[in-house]
């Protein structure tokens, strides 16, 4: 196969702006591969001052019917003439996988519709779910003029925190459980949900699942009054705590405060038959009506952008480490293991080396 030529960034941007799906697909592939021409195209494509799309994150445990639900959402938005893009992020490990591919094939019925753009992003066995590329791709889809951008991912590991970062609205999907409903939504994840959906609600236990989610949310609201002060205390007590965790604590306090006002809706759907999906769209509409153009949306997106920039910065720092003179990192690691150096001292040394630019 001859090497593919590098496309002109302004050409790709112009073609995407004209609505050429092939150019958009090419751009997303470029972003996924970390190509610099793709990044340049994205820069050109994003126009200051343009309207925001509603970026909707859909997440939840495997098997809860997220893809079918997304398929119904596409249909409902299309009936109203809105253009919809779907980014399906697959965090499956080498040991799992497969299920999502089936879902994608099901969704391909939408591929002939020009108002719909569907794209899978494989996270290539990297633990942690959404990658750098998904945030960039989501911005590209917004810039390409899709008013609705749905980012769908299986709730595994870090992916829920990542999706909370890039989405304006997070839909947490669960289903009636087998006696242990409280496990259907993982501890520590409730906080990111803006809308809760109990899918497969024709199964036994749906009402109980709704009640349990509501009571968990109410419990959250009742502790919300103290959440802000708890977060402040925690960050005072652990100043060196991982910044991402601190950020999460702040986010938690913020969402806690938000909860004090109004509990997020908890809806029942049967995605297979479409039951309840119109209510979900109504809940999304109602949320977007409040968010669009608001200070709250700006603040949420700023927080997400900051978190993303910090991730990229960390990557940059770590790649710098690898080029440090004389394998300093390996030497320090050996000293730590021998008990000659403590890890925090090694980290300080590495920081100073990076600052001085001791790279090869």
């Amino acid at each position: 196969m001859p090497p593919r030529s590098v496309p002109e960034s302004d050409d790709i941007a112009a073609r995407v702006r004209r609505g050429e799906e092939r150019a958009l697909a090419r751009l997303l592939t470029g972003l996924e591969d970390g190509e610099s021409w793709a990044l340049s195209s994205l820069r050109l494509l994003r126009a200051p001052g343009r309207e925001h799309s509603h970026v909707i994150g859909v997440t939840g445990p495997p098997g809860t019917g997220k893809s079918t639900l997304v398929d119904k959402l596409i249909g409902l938005y299309r009936e109203r003439g809105q253009r919809v893009a779907v980014l399906a992020v697959d965090p499956s490990s080498p040991f799992s996988g497969g299920a999502i591919l089936g879902d994608r094939i099901r969704m391909q019925s939408r591929l002939i519709d020009e108002g719909v753009f569907i794209r899978s992003l494989a996270t290539r066995g990297r633990l942690g779910g959404l990658s750098r590329a998904s945030a960039q791709c989501s911005r590209a889809l917004e810039a390409a003029g899709y008013g609705i951008v749905i980012v769908e991912t299986v709730g595994i590991g870090q992916s829920e925190v990542d999706i909370a970062r890039l989405a304006d609205t997070v839909v947490l999907v669960s289903m009636p459980g087998s006696g242990d409903d409280i496990q259907t939504i993982k501890a520590g994840v409730m906080e990111i949900g803006d809308i809760f959906v109990v899918n497969k609600a024709d199964r036994e236990g749906a009402d109980r699942a709704v009640r349990e989610i509501r009571s968990m949310l109410e419990m959250g609201a009742s502790i919300a009054a103290s959440a802000a002060s708890v977060a402040a205390l925690a960050s005072a007590a652990a100043p060196a705590a991982d910044a991402a965790h601190r950020e999460f604590g702040t986010q938690l306090a913020r969402s806690g405060a938000a909860l004090q006002g109004e509990l997020p809706p908890v809806l029942k759907t049967v995605a297979e038959t479409g039951e309840g999906t119109a209510d979900l769209v109504a809940a999304l509409d109602s949320r977007w009506a409040k968010l669009e153009g608001s200070q709250a949306l700006e603040a949420r997106r700023r927080r997400g952008a900051m978190a993303e920039a910090r991730s990229l910065l960390s990557e940059r720092v770590l790649s710098e480490l690898e080029s440090l003179e004389g394998g300093l990192e390996e030497e320090l690691a050996a000293r730590i293991v021998r008990g000659e150096t403590e890890v925090s001292d090694a980290a300080d040394l590495l920081f100073e080396s990076i600052r001085k630019g001791d790279s090869r």
Copy 2:
């Protein structure tokens, strides 16, 4: 309450060396709180060239009986006269919690035994499980002369990756499931297990659970031959990928290679009655006999130390960010949201600012 005086680092180190449990408890509290005197004590306490303890990570989903299992392990090691320290890391969110406390109370029967030291670490609602403190505390317990250091944590989110970093041996605990056994161990987590335990093996489905774990491990071994090249390809294709993910990929390839030699043991236990727990100790002994003093142990610990140093370095960089002149980060975030700057460009700017030391 009058402010507690800051203890002398060399005094604490000396007292810990003499076996004073109260001094050790004080040290761990200091490390948990990020106190500089505690770090100095740890530096003094860690003696170059001393024997390594066997650091055993015990992890798995909630409700699989990890604490009871650890309790039995303590008993068996104590019968042989070995000193055992347990670090119980609680990654419970504000929405869950409670269960672990009960477990701790059960384990308190061990508190009167001087050869046993048990300590809980609350991760304070920070998502991600094990904190910086747990690695430091684990080293402190090793330096205090406990030959067996058990780090127990509920397998949520990032905690499995963290435990793989600090433990010499990871015991992955699961239990017979209700029809969906493959879910009892999360996708992407199989790779970190050195010993697999199906606890509550008196329940129906235990043999099936063992078979499923074995077949997953065999599947892993059969793809191990290509794992190294896959990881190399992935890192070539995504050079800017999150370093932690790349590290994980490398680790995966390594463990894949390890799997080619010998599959990790899969054991059945009934912790409540003690059934099978002697076999678990035997498996741990056999692994330690191979590991102790080996190149493999050194390499594993060096990898862990490097990953930990990188985490601390990232924290350091992010805390530096917060002191950047004129709130550069906030300004960039606002520019990103307005579409005037791409996130990767913002990250580059932040990197240069940190390098130049543009702090207040």
